[in-house]
Symmetry: C2
Subunit: 316 residues, 2 copies
């Protein structure tokens, strides 16, 4: 079995690629995993076939399909903040890149499984308390707009028989490893990651802000599941709200206390920021992912689990 | 005031253009109406500035914006049946064409009113009995997919301040003037238009099939209203389900009897077609267009009115 991963050098892409190289998919070993990204993925292994290029170049996209991979994980994207700042680049990579890749699938005339990494950014308020599976996709960012457009293209090509596609609307990933970044959502990871490493972190929003989370491991497990599960229960609607963990900042902090003790909490600096609070307040807080749950997708049980998992991964 | 109409040679585009050339918009005369289409629009008048070209050519789209029209009506599109048959051409004209036009608006750095002709084809079942304003857009045709993508782009550019846009999801137009066509929906017009002209028409579906209609005049009136109404009540969600008339085939036939007498009904040949019945049964039947109604958009009162209006228009 050949497998293609785009965005293979990213945080989720690298984890996904390592899992695919190590254990294959659905009990079948991967003969070859094609790892595509704008920078060289840091995933060693004889079966890793690294391709460095620009996903928005139709030739590059077509080349990735040359060996007709049976399963395609399409994760390549410009992130939310950059897509908002650079309109042209956002549409070029997130929309045109997806379209070129999907058109290459169509031109190859077979019907691979395609797993597209979408996002809860496809949703915009006003929200019900818990967002149902058939809630309207009314994004309020260019990134969210581009992701819905990719979902629609995937659904059209699936309906036309060119692919067996599914779009996973990933929750906000927490705890993101690595250094702090300037994304508006960055503090959700920072207020856990930094204190766990003995460093200070800034909390710009009130403790009662609620949000929708998945650990990196849960996100990768759901991507792998999407690569092999029977998608026919979805019918025409192939964009899936994934299970996740709905938690407040207060819940996160209480979990940190339980795992790391009260001293760790002193490293959290409360510095209210009206702009960040306004942005975060406009985001989805809770979902009722009936369809994905019935199909065997799953989320994290608690923030205590998420923190313990992060500690285990960063201990090595 | 300069006004731009794309698709100006089409059935609605020509009627809209004639109205704009005759009376302007919102009580203001039109200094110039730029009429763009792939074929030369048949609309005479000294203030008509006809442009023949391909909307999917970025240069052509950019040229249409050179004089910064204050209001833009974007109607140019490949129709539903052709977009389904010719995947590449459908996306090129309906998606790329819309994108080039909207990108030209963005590049011109002003904020015109943009009215985009969308369609109830953005919706796919399963449906509630009456479709609410915030119903999920899950199209089941390539045409519907391309129309949602255009709506999303319009909403993103409106949010970013490049246009003041609104997408009108037009009901099925009935009675379409002219000759019978091969669209699956063609009979809805044919079973009225042909008997009114003393000719036979085929009815391929049962009498209890229900559908959602607007007369050409109602559609044009709503396009004109959209060119001048205050759109701020819409907030971020700029795709609007228009008022229309929900009627069964039986309702249409009863209206025909009232206007043209029982003899006209004998010209309707019932020849059940399972394929057409299946396609039509999957379409939306009724809407509850609360937002558009509150903003002053309106639909037809009855099929008797629609038929009388058609007779008045074709009498000349």
């Amino acid at each position: 079995m050949n497998i293609l991963v785009t965005g293979a050098a990213g945080m989720l892409g690298a984890r996904l690629s390592a899992r695919l190289l190590g254990e294959g998919l659905g009990g079948r070993g991967a003969r070859r995993v094609i790892l595509a990204d704008a920078v060289r993925p840091d995933v060693p292994g004889a079966r890793a076939d690294c391709r460095v290029g620009d996903i928005s170049d139709p030739q590059f996209a077509a080349g990735l399909l040359a060996d007709r991979p049976e399963v395609i994980f399409h994760l390549a994207a410009i992130v939310s903040g950059e897509a908002e700042q650079d309109y042209t680049r956002g549409y070029r990579v997130n929309l045109d890149g997806t379209r070129h890749l999907f058109d290459a699938v169509r031109a190859a005339r077979y019907c691979p499984r395609v797993v597209f990494a979408s996002s809860v950014a496809v949703f915009g308020g006003p929200f019900p308390q818990r967002i149902p599976d058939d809630f309207i996709a009314a994004p309020q960012t260019s990134y969210g707009t581009q992701k819905v457009m990719g979902e629609l293209l995937l659904e059209d090509l699936t309906r036309r028989g060119h692919m067996d596609g599914v779009a996973l609307r990933l929750p906000t990933i927490c705890i993101r490893p690595g250094r702090p970044n300037k994304a508006a959502s960055g503090f959700f990871s920072g207020i856990l990651r930094e204190p766990l490493a003995g460093q200070e972190a800034v909390l710009p929003v009130p403790d009662d802000i609620r949000h929708w989370f998945a650990s990196p491991a849960a996100a990768v497990a759901n991507l792998l599941h999407a690569g092999q599960v029977d998608l026919s229960p979805l019918g025409h609607r192939r964009a899936l709200n994934l299970p996740g963990l709905s938690a407040t900042v207060g819940d996160q902090i209480e979990a940190l206390r339980q795992v790391a003790g009260a001293d760790a909490l002193r490293l959290i600096q409360r510095r209210p920021d009206a702009t960040i609070t306004r942005i975060i307040s406009s985001w989805a807080q809770d979902f009722d992912p009936v369809r994905a749950t019935a199909m065997g997708f799953s989320g994290d049980a608690s923030f205590v689990d998420i923190i313990r998992q992060h500690l285990a991964e960063t201990a090595g």
